[in-house]
């Protein structure tokens, strides 16, 4: 039973470019959340997807957008990359309407040069 998988593991982009990160949730999970973790900080909530809709959003600009597919997998898109977007991007999956814990992937390390 695979856990949460994310791709790619590492990515290098330049300022102004666009990036897409991908996430497959743990088998049986229907909800995907994305977090950004800067070096030395705790993860910061970006947004959450359930039934292919954005359900909650953290304090992130519209440059950050997402999508959830019918198979529950998800993408995170970031446009017009800034140097400050360099971070570890984490995907977490869970079951909607439960108190079940979040399962996190190992993340995508994004470097913006």
């Amino acid at each position: 039973d695979a856990g949460v998988t994310q791709s790619p593991t590492h990515l290098i982009k330049t300022r102004g470019q666009q990036v897409t990160l991908r996430c497959s949730p743990k088998s049986g999970h229907d909800t995907v959340s994305w977090y950004q973790q800067a070096l030395g900080q705790g993860p910061q909530f970006i947004f959450q997807y359930y039934e292919e809709e954005e359900r909650q959003r953290g304090n992130f600009p519209d440059r950050f957008s997402g999508h959830q597919f019918p198979n529950y997998s998800s993408e995170l898109n970031v446009n017009a990359l800034l140097l400050g977007d360099s971070a570890l991007y984490l995907c977490a999956s869970s079951l909607w309407w439960t108190n079940e814990k979040l399962f996190f992937g190992s993340g995508t390390q994004l470097s913006v040069l």
Binding site: V4, T31, V32, S33, Y35, Q41, G42, P43, Q44, F45, Q48, R55, Q56, G58, L88, L90, C91, A92, S94, W96, W97, T98, N99, E100, K101, L102, F103, F104, G105, S106, G107, Q109
Partner: protein
Amino acid sequence: LAKTTQPISMDSYEGQEVNITCSHNNIATNDYITWYQQFPSQGPRFIIQGYKTKVTNEVASLFIPADRKSSTLSLPRVSLSDTAVYYCLVGMGSNTGKLIFGQGTTLQVKP
């Protein structure tokens, strides 16, 4: 969502018991308390979750007083591999995905 406060760092030695306390004065009635562990360049990993009193699993214990304004994660007989950042979080229900992480507690276990 309730804010949490925990020590920035702690040191311990192998074989000792480690207790990390977290305060959450504004915890809501339906909030659970959850602890995660994170190693460098990895995602957080669930350790334990509780609502009140004491919860124990194979890796840790969680002590929650009656007023639920604080909680203590207890790691018995730590080893070098327990060196990690530990996060205390509160909040549950349909907001499960929107967890508020603080800076966490960096635990350094020494030989």
